[in-house]
Amino acid sequence: EPEVTQTPSHQVTQMGQEVILRCVPISNHLYFYWYRQILGQKVEFLVSFYNNEISEKSEIFDDQFSVERPDGSNFTLKIRSTKLEDSAMYFCASSETPGHHYFGPGTRLTVT
């Protein structure tokens, strides 16, 4: 069964550094999403992406965040200058239609 993959599984970075989280969605999917989950809290929507542009973003997704689909297969989330509060699990998801999401295994980001 096809699956969404994410790399790295765990990223440790220093405050103020830029990080890029990578996702490979399922190949025929058209809708892509990033969510984050701070430890012990609920999963929060960050951004949705369709047709090479952002279709919706949350209040969390400020100017420090950006997304890109650089080569037709990868889907990346960049955080320009990380803060301590960015420490969380970041999930990528994709869907064929705005239907049910297929989630990746997540990237655990630790900002020190």
């Binding site: 809290q41 999963v43 949705s48 705005p98 997540g106």
Partner: protein, 117 residues
């Protein structure tokens, strides 16, 4: 804006018994999807079951079934014959059918289910 509420932070069930996890939501829309996701310690998000709001019949998936009460905006998950592997965090989620909203999921706070042998 839509909201999803899970009022039970933790639940416990004896192996082989049945447990029901509660979820309520608020929306002004008439068409939407509802989901239950399971998150084991690995933190992978696994779809358990989904329900289309326009369907009156409650969804079932093996030992998992839902009680969907549209008028009451309630969407509970029943796990029958609980197994040790069912121990996990369970999240209820809502998705609008309005396509220009991008199809995002709105999650509840989660219910941590433990299963006692």
């Amino acid at each position: 804006a839509q909201t999803v509420t899970q009022s039970q932070p933790e639940m416990s069930v004896q192996e082989a018994e049945t447990v029901t996890l509660s979820c309520t939501y608020d929306t002004s829309e008439s068409d939407y999807y509802l989901f239950w996701y399971k998150q084991p310690p690995s933190r992978q998000m696994i779809l358990v079951i989904r329900q289309e709001a326009y369907k009156q019949q409650n969804a079932t998936e093996n030992r998992f079934s839902v009680n969907f009460q549209k008028a009451a905006k309630s969407f509970s998950l029943k796990i029958s014959d609980s197994q040790l592997g069912d121990a996990a965090m369970y999240f209820c989620a809502y998705r609008s059918m309005i396509y220009n909203q991008g199809g995002k999921l709105i999650f509840g706070q989660g219910t941590e289910l433990s299963v006692k042998p």
